[in-house]
Subunit: 426 residues, 2 copies
Amino acid sequence: MNAMKIGIAGLGTVGGGVVKGLQTHGARLDTRAGMPLELIAVCDRDADRLAAFAVPAKFDDVTGLVASKADLIVELIGGENGAAPKLVEAALKAGKHVVTANKAMMARHGARLAAIAEQNGRALKFEAAVAGGIPIVKALRESLMTHGVKVVRGILNGTCNYILTQMEATGRGFDEVLKDAQNLGYAEADPELDVGGGDTAHKLALLTALAFAVAPNLDAVAVEGIRHINPDDIAFAREFGYRIKLLGIARRTDIGIIQRVQPAMVREGTPLADVDGVLNGVVVNAGEAGPFFFEGRGAGESPTAGAVIADILDIARGNCGSVFGVPAASLSALSPAPAGSASSAFYLRFQVLDVPGVLAEIAGLLAKWRVSIESMIQRGRAPGEAVSIVMITHETTYAAVESALQTIAGSANVVAPPVMIPMEAK
Amino acid sequence: MNAMKIGIAGLGTVGGGVVKGLQTHGARLDTRAGMPLELIAVCDRDADRLAAFAVPAKFDDVTGLVASKADLIVELIGGENGAAPKLVEAALKAGKHVVTANKAMMARHGARLAAIAEQNGRALKFEAAVAGGIPIVKALRESLMTHGVKVVRGILNGTCNYILTQMEATGRGFDEVLKDAQNLGYAEADPELDVGGGDTAHKLALLTALAFAVAPNLDAVAVEGIRHINPDDIAFAREFGYRIKLLGIARRTDIGIIQRVQPAMVREGTPLADVDGVLNGVVVNAGEAGPFFFEGRGAGESPTAGAVIADILDIARGNCGSVFGVPAASLSALSPAPAGSASSAFYLRFQVLDVPGVLAEIAGLLAKWRVSIESMIQRGRAPGEAVSIVMITHETTYAAVESALQTIAGSANVVAPPVMIPMEAK
């Protein structure tokens, strides 16, 4: 019987987890693969990491891996450009299958790499790139597409979800909670890719591609992070029966595809509202078949290594279909909906001077842009204090609300930039 | 390019949905399949059903289908024995792939049919047999198995879940709510397969096989339905912070595999507690990778037809691996844990005469079987009325509780059979 010879590039947390997984569960995995899985080579620039594992061949450079007898290369180097895409391209052209956890690379170069894979008759799999152990890539590629997906909404970044969950639980501010998260290892020393929304955008671009059979288009994702969310907004959200979550949202509409990463109000009692801490969760509205919800650990050694190994097994069993579920040549260019055309209800918060007529002024400016109010709370009447006016609007467009807020921000009675957070009730 | 020629046996709700799905979404599905999907024949004993669809060849008997040029047969006749398994066996032996939604057949004959499929180099897929549109069969077969699954727990029957949800919402009794469910089409005229737990047992036997690489063993499932659940139990559950759900539970232990279908107390705030109405939900504890949760519509035309079509696409793309995730010849015989050896905490309810010493008597008999009490509620002190004594025990074995209850039921002070419901908190 043929063996599947495997080479791994990058021995960080996930790479180490893959080596351990293959070595610990070898016999059981071989049975599932239908052939022996043989780890023949690893590569890492760090000599200590290389020394930590017992593997026949070790390289400090990817060249050795590409030249090796490996049938399948696992790319865990990371990074949008540089060594990772070079390795993947070289491996595919050398007739090797590739499994990767690299969301940045796939979001940027996914369509091109998919075409190379398919031209060379090789698989390129990336389950571990989105939502860790949750098999959402496979579900969108192979299970939920029958009736046509309408919307995908996900909590795709455990760091942000941990921070928002902690802010809600403790009432503390973003900076303080971020520091705790860094101390606990839930946030990086440089947290920008997570808290700025960029990591969620990478993952969203891949889910969009799978859901709608389009080439991943990272540039068409509107991205907003969570730095500006404050404990007042979280407390007001609770009063209205909502929780604030950083969502990636991809929606097919008549005027194009909307891709947004942004903090959103999620109604209590709906599945995404209960995704707490570092967990990830994804809702797929699969047309007539209805919504499906998936939840689990979206990062960490075992869930992510598990997803990588599942991809390896898939390839060993001959499940080597199109990278994004349709042939790369059939991926359409993503046609983005015009900026601002998406519609939603919104949570708005204004910090204003407590002077007569201020509410009338704000209400008048909103009305001018045809933004109508569903409910309102006013707070903070200690003398001399600024007053918080909080509103939930009826459904309207981003463009209308943004225009109204721009005008309102110019008022002498408004003492801080207005806050707008869309309501994702459905 | 080759086409995939398809024949469908059984044109009920799901069969009709598959025909409609293939016809409505044809071009899009062909792109995903990598080849044209051609519906060439259908068969049904009912002439009216046959007349309702435009398909080249129509048969009133499966023989014509087996003799047809179809590459793939969709079996939607249903039934554990009789026409369905005969058709599947004949089709596989004639070199055709098979997709089925038949949980009873797969739970009873799955291992044998898998062996026939694999001997003939053909696929046998059954995503639609469990949890409708939720891709749990694929997830267990291809995604979550890396680190070894420990436990699968699911709400797998929408009828039971609808009835329990309604009983809780309205405070009404089982019989009344069942009648409503029947009028609404959520329950069959003969509801026994659903409310007696048999349908859940079929599905559980399949999930167990996938999770633990064993041959499905329906006889090793301990089955209890929901007829005996009354509104008092539901109300007490709420007081303790739990909800009552009919669960299928498969657990690997040191002394064998436990398979149980039974009403269980599910703690509020955990995912399964929030699966309401006709929805299905499944939690898979995937060892080191942690728990994963899946929720969605578990029955109905579109979700189930969607799952059937996803299986067809899988086969067209060449994803034709082992039926249960490991070669049929490698499926172990399921070694069931000894009856009663499973351990759990329990909810217990006793209807007793309000006489001095009755609590001491019950507590004494529980203690004799080393069943210790964590918390207790006593109710119903109108003169002459029977009193409800409700307890939550610490963790103990089914055998201990069953023995204790048998003795307690014999007491002259106990006026109704004691109720025991396990707590599924984790």
